[in-house]
Symmetry: C2
Subunit: 345 residues, 2 copies
C-alpha cells in the first residue's frame, strides 16, 4: 500500500529512528541526512500514518463536537469557533449531529470514545445521559456547550437563559404589549425551560399573574414548526390573540414571521416577534428580527479552550455563563405609543 517510514529509511540510507527524528525533531538531525530523508519522502509520496502515531501516543489529535441540530446556524457558528481553536492546537474536529435524539447521541459518544478523542464538546439532549459520566470516568474530558453543568467536576459554557427570557419579555411589556405568546419546545431541554422561566418571571413581576401568557410547545425547534405555531396564533380570536411572540430560537421566529406575513398580519405593527440566538439570518430577514444575542462563535472558542486546558492537571473546572444581550430590530419596534393609549384607556 502506501510507503512507510521504513521504506523512507531504506531509500535514504539511514535508520528508521532518523526518519522519525526528521519528522519530529528536525534540528537534532544533520543537514545531510535531513535532506536525503526529505528527498526520499517526496519521491515515495510518504504520508504519516496517524493511526500508528495515535496508537503509540495513546491519544488522538482529534476532538469531538456533538450538536443538537446541524441545520441550525447557531451550531455552525459554534463549530466555527471550536475549529478555530482546534486548528491552532493542531487538532481535527469530528462534528456529530445528534438531531436531539438520545440514541444517535449515545452512538456518537461510543464512536468518539473508540476514536480516543482528546475530549468531547457537547450540547446534550435533555437527559444528560449517564453516558457522559461514563466518558468522564474513563478520563475523557467533557465540556458542555450552551448548557450549564449540573454539578461541579465539569466545565461548561452557557448563557443565562433565564435572563435572556426576561430581557425579551421585559422589552415587549415595556413596549406596551399585554398579551404575549411563548413558542418553546417539548423536548425538555433545560435551555428552553430556562428561557420560558425567564419569560414567566418577567410577566409575573409586571402583571402579577401569567394569565396573558400563552405557551406553545412544538416537538422540534425548526422553521416549519414555527410556522405551525403562528398559524394557531393567527387563528385565535382577536380579543385574546397575543400581540407579541417570543420564540425559543430564531428558526422558530423565522417560521412565525413568515406565516404572519403570509396571513397578512403586519410585523411588528400587529404582532411583534422576538427570537433567540441572533443567528445571522435573523438580521437578514426582510423584517429584521429582534433577538437575544449569544456570543456564538466565542462560546465555541471558549469551550474548546476549556477542553484543552483540562489536559493540564492543575486544571480547575470552570462554569462560564455569558450574559445575553437583547438586540432590538424592526420586528419589535412599533406599538409603544398605541400601547400607552391602551393602557390609559
Amino acid at each position: 500500500m502506501s510507503a512507510s517510514i521504513r521504506d523512507v529509511a531504506r531509500r535514504a540510507g539511514v535508520s528508521l529512528g532518523t526518519v522519525s527524528n526528521v519528522l519530529n525533531r528536525p534540528d537534532q538531525v544533520s543537514v545531510g541526512s535531513r535532506e536525503r530523508v526529505l528527498a526520499a519522502i517526496a519521491e515515495l509520496g510518504f504520508v504519516r500514518n496517524e493511526s500508528a502515531r495515535q496508537l503509540r501516543a495513546g491519544t488522538s489529535r482529534t476532538l469531538g463536537l456533538v450538536v443538537l441540530d446541524i441545520a441550525n446556524p447557531f451550531f455552525t457558528d459554534v463549530a466555527r469557533g471550536v475549529s478555530e481553536v482546534a486548528d491552532d492546537a493542531g487538532l481535527a474536529v469530528i462534528l456529530c449531529n445528534s438531531d436531539d435524539r438520545p440514541a444517535k447521541e449515545s452512538a456518537y459518544l461510543d464512536l468518539l470514545a473508540e476514536q480516543r478523542v482528546q475530549g468531547v464538546l457537547i450540547t446534550p439532549t435533555a437527559d444528560l445521559a449517564p453516558h457522559l459520566d461514563s466518558l468522564r470516568r474513563r478520563g475523557v474530558p467533557v465540556v458542555l456547550v450552551d448548557r450549564r453543568a449540573t454539578g461541579p467536576g465539569q466545565c461548561s459554557v452557557a448563557v443565562d437563559d433565564v435572563l435572556g427570557g426576561r430581557l425579551a419579555a421585559d422589552h415587549l411589556i415595556e413596549r406596551g404589549h399585554r398579551r404575549i405568546a411563548f413558542v418553546g419546545g417539548s423536548s425538555g431541554l433545560p435551555q428552553i425551560e430556562e428561557r420560558h422561566a425567564g419569560v414567566v418571571a418577567a410577566v409575573r413581576d409586571q402583571w402579577g399573574d401569567e394569565d396573558s401568557l400563552t405557551v406553545f410547545a412544538p416537538d422540534v425547534l425548526t422553521v416549519a414548526t414555527g410556522r405551525e405555531a403562528a398559524a394557531q396564533i393567527v387563528g385565535m380570536p382577536a380579543a385574546v390573540r397575543p400581540t407579541a411572540v417570543i420564540c425559543a430560537n430564531d428558526l422558530l421566529a423565522l417560521g412565525v414571521l413568515q406565516e404572519m406575513t403570509r396571513h397578512g398580519v403586519r410585523v411588528p405593527e400587529e404582532c411583534a416577534i422576538v427570537g433567540y440566538d441572533d443567528i445571522e439570518f435573523a438580521a437578514a430577514a426582510a423584517v429584521p428580527l429582534t433577538s437575544v444575542r449569544k456570543p456564538r462563535q466565542e462560546m465555541g472558542r471558549r469551550a474548546a479552550e476549556l477542553l484543552l486546558a483540562e489536559a493540564g492537571d492543575d486544571h480547575v473546572h470552570e462554569q462560564i455563563v455569558y450574559e445575553p444581550v437583547l438586540v432590538v430590530r424592526e420586528s419589535s419596534m412599533a406599538r409603544r405609543s398605541t400601547a400607552q393609549g391602551e393602557r390609559t384607556a
Copy 2:
C-alpha cells in the same frame, strides 16, 4: 490508562484471541466464554481502540467531507445526506470547512490523508488543486460534490448549472423583465461561472445582446456581500436600474432582499429576486424567494454512495448531473402585465 483487550482476556480467564473473536465473530465462540468475556468488558469499561484497529486494518472507518462554507445551509444539507449513508455503513464523517481558501483546503486534505480516510468528498476551491490528483495516486477515492469532474477517472455529483442559470433568466424574461442583474462571485468557481454562462446564454437568445445584463462579482458569497451588491443596484439611476436580480446563491439573494426592503424597494413589484440552491431559509424569507432547487440532501447521499462503491474493483466512474428545477415563489411573482405594458409602450 484504559483497559485493553489483554486486560479483558486476563479477567475473563480466556486468551486474547477469544476476546477478539467475541468482538468480531461472536458466533464462533461458545456461550460460556462469550458471557464471561462480555461480563469482563462491562466490568472494566473496555472500549475498543480504534487506532489499533485502523493500524491493523490499514484503513480507517472514516470519510472526509470538505465544504466551501459551513455557514451555508446548502452544505449542511449535503452533509446530512452524506452522514445518512455513512452512518449506515458504520463510517464516521470528518467535516472540514475550507472557507474557500486553498491553503486551508490543502491542509485539511493532508490531515485526511494522514488519517487514512476511506475516501474524500469535496467541493473544491477554484483550482482543483493538484492535491486531489496526489490523493488519487495514493489510492484514496475522491468524489467531487456540486462540481463536475473535469476528466474521466473520477466520480462527481453535480447540477447542470448552465441550465439553472438559464431557467432563472428565462423565467424573469418571460415575466417581462428587460434589465437584469447577475450577482455572482469573483473566486472563479466553475459552478458560479456556469450559472453566469446560463444567464448570459438565455439573455443573448432573447435579446440578441447582453447589454441589459449587469454583473456584480463580490469576493465571497454571503448575506453581507449580497447586501452590498443590492446597495449598488439601488443606487443606480432608475432608467438603467435592473428590475430583477439573479443571485448565484441564496445567501446573496437574502442579502439583496433585505437591502431592497430596507431602501423601500418593494419585492417583487419594483425588483424581482431569484436565488440559487433553494435552501430552507429561501422559502422562509418574509418574501419567499424564488430559487433554483438542487437536490441537496440527495446529492450528499449519492456522493457518499459513489465513494463507497469505489471500493469495489469493478467500479466504473460515474459523473452524475442533476437537473435543477426552478421553484417560483413570491419574490418573482409580479410584473407580467405591467411588463407587457412597458413593452408595448
